[in-house]
Symmetry: C2
Subunit: 367 residues, 2 copies
């Protein structure tokens, strides 16, 4: 490590999840151990909870630090109540980022409260009307499909859907190294004439943007991997996300019923256990390390309330990579290029060329 | 069979599917053979196609008849073009029902054209603003969840969503024998405060209806079986339906990748084949025999373009059962009761009691 290289600090909310704080902290320690000095993980939560946990550890990596918060937002709190809790782990963790004491915030707590607080404390990127939650779905190609929004905005205007696609494209380009990610607009048919009013108007915005817009995609195209980024409103996205999360339980239940009725498949089931586990994991979005909230001035990743330590570890590492790739700054630049291009439609379209993100990546080495 | 008992005639469109007409007719023959004289199946399509098929059959059941149609609507036709084809198998089959020469129509052809033609030719049930396509999803409970609308109406008002729930409730009650089916309204959280504008207004309509409304349900509740009927707009429903249909391909692809990498799971995979087939079938809506279009004056079932003979057989049998249970008449009565109840809110609520459909079932014996 060169001395010039500043480490990235991720504030990790250890409170308010469905799993115990110890499980969250275990994930944080795994991330710290895996990344070394490049990463600083700060546990944010109640003093006694953190101390009890750390006292039990044989080795605490030197890149773990702590920041105490007197309160926690409960899963049952509504977002407004959540925001009002001044010294909650959410408020303290985001406050660190606001004061530049941290670069990112990761929480497995109350989604609505985290989202609302992040937008309030960190603010929106200039030009972005509605920050959105992005989630990676598995696909047949083996490379995930990024779907957004999955719950931040239920009633969307065409401009919002367009901006979701743009933000997703920046994220997919920088984080997964895809040049010119294919953006699809979720609808009920590929034809221009199909879809609701919202979709038809959004299509026009994409078509004149210069982004790599592949047109309408359908429900089946998410798992097929036909698009890298799928734009939809938070209502449809959230219904799809929760439906997808329930597939695991459905498969398990169907398997049990099958095993009970057939001795041959009982033998098969034993041999197939690793496969089924992997299959179920494919439908579990915590494997991808949580869902980034895109469009804010900062980095915030919202994890599932039942996140495993591995999911927390992944989320912390993804958060640090988002900082490194300056996702927010790139989204801001992309918005500016598009606005500029719209104002000067005669200008050379190459301004909207494929490789425009590459120049702005701060470093090539992966965290 | 008593002589008084009139058989039920199902007009089966043999044209315009993705599978060949012979495959559709094979399903029709299976239905005719299974049901005997209670059912009459009429093949509707091009003369030479039907003759060629029937000439090859060793035994054609006596309850198979034919009705020739000079044209076919292609999958690629838009619904407006489809409606204009006067002597298409869709127009001829629905015309038979209009003239009371048939009681039901089943087609695996162009969904949009079948839907639009059925509404135009047969008309809507009095009081129903928007007919809807209903589809059965599998559930952990083993009993399917009926979701509607899955594509007929992309932009819906609260009254439409309410009527979808009502129609689904009548269908589930009569066709699956559930007393007082639980109706859920698809949203992004169970709480009253969650959902979009449309959902919040629809909730009020359900709450004062006297139907067995269980409140908002989420994406995960479809496979969990928490509701018998789930109401949503045709945009969300269609995205979900197509997403669900793609799960089979995703599972197969994931299985293949797993088998290629692991000898133990290769053995397991062989033993698990029947299970996986069943699992995939669970996600294939053709197993339920197609999707009824509810809210029209008549019976119309729309099948998947790639329907197997078994799916067609099931669809024909379900169509005949819908005729027997007088689904349309029961939806009309239910609408009248609700309108009456809304006009006389002081009236005894028992008018809206649980068992109101039972009296109107024409017969208890199952087709």
């Amino acid at each position: 490590m060169s001395e010039q290289k500043k480490s990235i600090t991720v504030a990790l909310d250890i409170m308010g999840a469905d799993v115990p704080p110890d499980s969250i902290m275990t994930g944080g320690i795994q991330a710290a151990a895996e990344c070394g000095d490049e990463l600083q993980v700060t546990f944010v939560g109640k003093q006694e909870v953190i101390s009890n946990f750390l006292d039990k550890q044989k080795n605490v990596p030197s890149n773990i630090s702590v920041e105490y918060a007197a309160h926690a937002v409960a899963m049952s709190d509504n977002p407004t109540e959540g925001i009002r809790k001044k010294n909650s782990s959410i408020a303290v963790g985001l406050g660190m980022q606001k004061r530049k004491e941290a670069d990112a915030f990761v929480s497995a707590g109350n989604t609505g409260a985290v989202m609302a607080s992040a937008i309030m404390v960190l603010g929106r990127i200039e030009g972005i009307s509605r920050p959105a939650i992005a989630t990676q779905f598995p696909s047949r190609s083996g490379r995930p499909t990024l779907v957004l929004d999955v719950g931040a905005n239920v009633d969307c205007k065409p401009m919002h859907l367009f901006q979701f696609g743009l933000m997703g494209s920046v994220f997919a380009s920088l984080m997964t190294g895809r040049t010119s990610p294919r953006i699809g607009l979720l609808s009920i048919g590929e034809e221009r004439s199909k879809g609701n009013e919202q979709v038809m108007q959004t299509r026009e915005l994409f078509e004149k943007s210069g982004l790599n817009f592949i047109g309408n995609v359908e429900g089946r195209d998410i798992l097929s991997g036909r698009a890298d980024v799928v734009s939809t409103d938070g209502f449809v996205g959230n219904v799809l996300l929760k439906f997808t999360e329930s597939i695991e339980g459905f498969l398990t239940k169907s398997l049990k019923r099958q095993i009970e009725t057939n001795i041959f498949s009982r033998v098969g089931a034993g041999l197939m256990t690793p496969f089924l586990r992997r299959l179920r994991n494919a439908f579990d979005y915590s494997e991808y390390g949580g869902a980034p909230l895109l469009g804010i001035n900062g980095v915030c990743i919202i994890c599932h309330g039942t996140s495993s330590p591995k999911a927390i570890k992944n989320a912390v590492i993804v958060a640090a990579r988002m900082v490194k790739h300056r996702i927010g700054e790139n989204i801001r630049q992309e918005m500016a290029i598009l606005n500029n291009s719209n104002n000067n439609e005669q200008d050379d379209k190459s301004q909207n060329g494929r490789d425009r993100f590459v120049r702005s990546i701060s470093s090539d080495d992966e965290l």
